[in-house]
Symmetry: C2
Subunit: 333 residues, 2 copies
């Protein structure tokens, strides 16, 4: 798709054809001033938006275009997963330089629309604009039965803190990409976690349907920061045992070879798109939860009274690393 040859409306028409007409809950999609969603009775609509900006969230030198398209949608789907919502569709704002390479536009949209199909989340509208750099912004819509969404605010003292998925791999992958050491076979699984995260949609819906979680969030900015949001919204504290953090296989060794502390990667790394959730003390153990959710589940700590997050290693307090990613405090990438 060549933006300069097609023009804005030709580009929209080409995207519309590729998106297909599978509309699900939508009575109007691309081609009106707004898309129209017909909600099912008894459901709430979850809405979330995320933006990926060139040279802030990704670099073309290290990012395959199809993976970028998938990731731009995946980060919003991960927010739906954290609410236990079923995806309904999404809007895309695509800001492109005027000289964007047609093959790159094709590949980004191809990756995004392939994930959209497999997640049952059709593209229903958007805006295409020119800009100084690539920016992909996705607004995703999901449905949950009324009053049943997983929130950040339901954690209570005594609840267990658990992780669905693994921590630290995406951050290690980013460091490997940035240091130019991503080509080794041992690096590949970590690079893939950075470039091509998989939203845990099924796990989120199963947590919600089974009433298994009192609170949940996805790990986009790092465990410490994201669990911190749960503690803030629930007005509680927590203790986390760092030996129990679910590191990906091989992470500890490769991290140390790179001069990185695996625990810091897992605590502050971000972009794992794992789910952190809380559950009452009496309830299915981590092993049983893993079978029900269809992914690795690990108990990492407990909710406590107070408002602090304590990290423990062999029962002794550990000082907090400097937090996850902050757009205005940290250096880019």
């Amino acid at each position: 798709m060549d933006p300069r040859r097609l023009g804005e409306f030709g580009l929209i028409e080409a995207i519309r054809r590729r998106a297909g007409s599978r509309a699900g809950a939508w009575t109007r999609t691309i081609g009106d001033d707004a898309a129209l969603l017909r909600p099912r009775p008894g459901c709430e609509i979850a809405v979330t938006v995320d933006a990926l900006v060139e040279d802030v969230h990704f670099r073309w030198s290290t990012t395959p275009p199809r993976a970028l398209g998938r990731k731009a949608l995946a980060v919003s789907l991960s927010d739906l997963a954290a609410m236990g919502a079923r995806p309904l569709g999404f809007l895309l704002v695509l800001a492109l330089p005027r000289d964007a390479a047609p093959a790159r536009v094709d590949a980004v949209l191809g990756g995004m629309l392939a994930l959209a199909r497999s997640a049952g989340c059709p593209l229903v509208g958007g805006d295409t604009v020119s800009g100084p750099c690539w920016t992909l912004s996705t607004t995703a819509f999901g449905e949950v039965p009324r009053g049943r969404a997983l929130l950040r605010s339901g954690a209570r003292p005594g609840h267990r803190v658990l992780v669905a998925g693994e921590l630290g791999a995406a951050a290690l992958g980013l460091r490997l990409l940035e240091s130019g050491r991503a080509g080794r076979p041992a690096a590949r699984p970590f690079v893939r976690r950075q470039l091509d995260p998989v939203p845990l949609l099924d796990a989120g819906m199963r947590l919600r349907r089974g009433r298994l979680a009192s609170a949940a969030i996805d790990v986009s900015d790092g465990l410490v920061q994201d669990l911190g949001h749960v503690l803030d919204e629930s007005r509680v504290g927590a203790e986390v045992h760092v030996e129990q953090l679910p590191l990906a296989r091989g992470l500890a060794r490769l991290a140390r070879e790179e001069g990185l502390d695996p625990v810091t990667l897992a605590l502050a790394g971000g972009e794992d798109y794992a789910l952190v959730f809380c559950a009452p003390a009496r309830g299915p153990a981590a092993g049983a939860l893993a079978r029900r959710l269809g992914c690795r589940v690990t108990e990492i700590g407990r909710i406590r009274r107070g408002r602090s997050l304590r990290l423990l290693r062999a029962g002794r307090a550990l000082s907090l690393p400097g937090g996850g990613w902050d757009h205005f405090k940290a250096a880019p990438l």
Copy 2:
């Protein structure tokens, strides 16, 4: 609000405080992974997204920050107006340079949130990121009774073509700003239309409630281009009498002083955020519609068989100007 002092999460918290807690149809807003909308029974949800990019859609040298904040939301509210939808809330993606001036951030958000309050459309979530330039992207949500939204696809041969509002003023205002001739008293109303457009939300809702329109669209890219979308989606043609176009008072004279053709401004200018709508031949006349909608209403032509748009001046065909704004074909601004 100083992004560098506050950091990303401080900035989000400051925006959250300013947005207030007035939630309306929303059971969760800022502070969870997604906002949660509880739709009213029998309603559909209209969703639309628009992005404004620095140096593409606006220049800081000519744009007051409060007006920019209003406009960023107004363009999405205008899409809701064109569907006849009642606003419910909006999401904001705010991309800022790291060194964005705190007073500018304050003023942009102040203008946006003031319009949000007056339109009954609270800020319910979003994403704040750093980027090479300012980008404001708003996703707006509205409700309409099932099956009652105004669409682009309902125009039929014989229907009248009408405009609610006026045409050409925003384009003249842009030319005045770009040529540095915006300071004269005669220029001010046109500059205001460019910088600070008013979405015709009430007119759109009244069109829908009164079942007065068979099709509608808002004029963002220019009458010829936007009416063209109605013709495409309805699979019809139209004729438009250019003498009947609703020019703002004083537009013709000032345009000619600037060496511009007022009819071309009205046909191809864009950013008027007027509503173009179609109505059966037998129905309230323009004067009666103006009283019911609470704004200027002008009949400009008829829907015809075929697929072409014919422009007529004194009964004779006029060639089409080169269309409205296209992001990938036209020069920026």
